[in-house]
Symmetry: C2
Subunit: 215 residues, 2 copies
């Protein structure tokens, strides 16, 4: 359930044997991450300090800093872990869809289902995405490349199967789709929309966005 699983053989080539000490360190990280996830969800990114997180995890702030350089790193770690969980499911959903629209609704449906279960964390994530440093933005975009590659595969298959015209600007179509996908979360946050409602809207949006691209 992670990017690593794509390269499962190379992972098997170098099995990681954890010493007792490394195991303890890993458990500490997990305790911190679990407490941080809860507090970021409850209070947002700005509202949760490292001191709060340390207290919730039952350890000193020093112990937290032994595992994470700062709050940004802690937050990014949570997002990366989440992303690794859903990416494999998004790939499956994208491949299971018979048409371009089905494939896109499938892959974004995985994301909607996942994030609607932890909406406060998603709100914090989108808010932080506008105020983070350039370095953090670069890192987030590197992660997004996998999603955009996946959307690219879907549109390429649409071209190959004669659903979409060749010569379309697939990158631009993918980016517009991404923008509306993210903006739709506002309906979940403030209007209580369900996954089904979000997907119905995304389906309407895809009809508009791909109207000029249909073969």
């Amino acid at each position: 359930m992670s990017f690593v699983s794509v390269n499962i053989e190379s992972a098997a080539d170098s099995p990681v044997k954890l010493t007792r000490r490394a195991l303890a360190k890993q458990r500490t990280r997990e305790r911190v991450l679990s407490a941080a996830r809860r507090l970021f969800s409850e209070r947002g990114y700005e509202g949760a300090t490292i001191r709060d997180i340390a207290q919730a995890a039952g350890m000193s702030t020093g112990a937290v800093f032994a595992s994470f350089a700062d709050k940004t790193e802690l937050f990014d770690e949570i997002l990366t872990a989440d992303y690794e969980v859903i990416y494999a499911q998004m790939v499956q959903a994208a491949r299971a869809g018979a048409t371009v629209d089905e494939a896109l609704l499938g892959l974004f449906g995985v994301a909607y289902s996942f994030h609607l279960d932890q909406l406060p964390l998603l709100r914090a994530t989108i808010a932080v995405s506008w105020t983070r440093t350039e370095a953090a933005e670069r890192s987030a975009r590197a992660d997004l490349k996998h999603i955009f590659r996946l959307i690219g595969e879907v549109t390429q298959r649409g071209i190959d199967q004669g659903q979409l015209k060749s010569g379309i600007d697939a990158k631009l179509l993918a980016e517009i789709t991404w923008d509306v996908y993210v903006a739709n979360y506002r309906r979940a946050v403030f209007d209580g929309w369900t996954v089904e409602a979000l997907l119905a809207r995304l389906s309407d949006q895809l009809k508009v966005i791909f109207a000029g691209a249909r073969a």
Copy 2:
């Protein structure tokens, strides 16, 4: 330069005569707003406290609370003032455009020009828009209605002039356009894009979004 200017006659019906005391109160508000604008721009919404703002304005926190109920109200007041400044210009630009695309690029161009001059405040605004209360969201959406009405006028004119098909979902087209308009600011924030670069991108996006709607 405000919504009020649309109803300039009714405004003239009830001229406001400020007493010396009311004038002093207004000056206090303006000092607070000016300090708040600067601090929100420098530190973001979360990073600027009422205490900081009071200090920067050279007054007590009590004096600030005499004018504003809380930080949210202070922030909203700044945004509303900005919005009133640009709305009249957006109307003019929308009416000056000969085609639907020109009109939309004109009205969003006004907004891009304005916000690129105070990008840190815009970042804070978008970030806050994801974490604010439902009441604040409702209030923000009420302001946005004017913009959506304006976009609606542009598309209706496009239909009347035979540029767009009748029977299109003008609301959905406007909402998709709005979503990409907002998302494009990310390029200004993290990639240093100019107004011209943002408008070139929006022009490409409009070609996609309106492809199925052209007559």
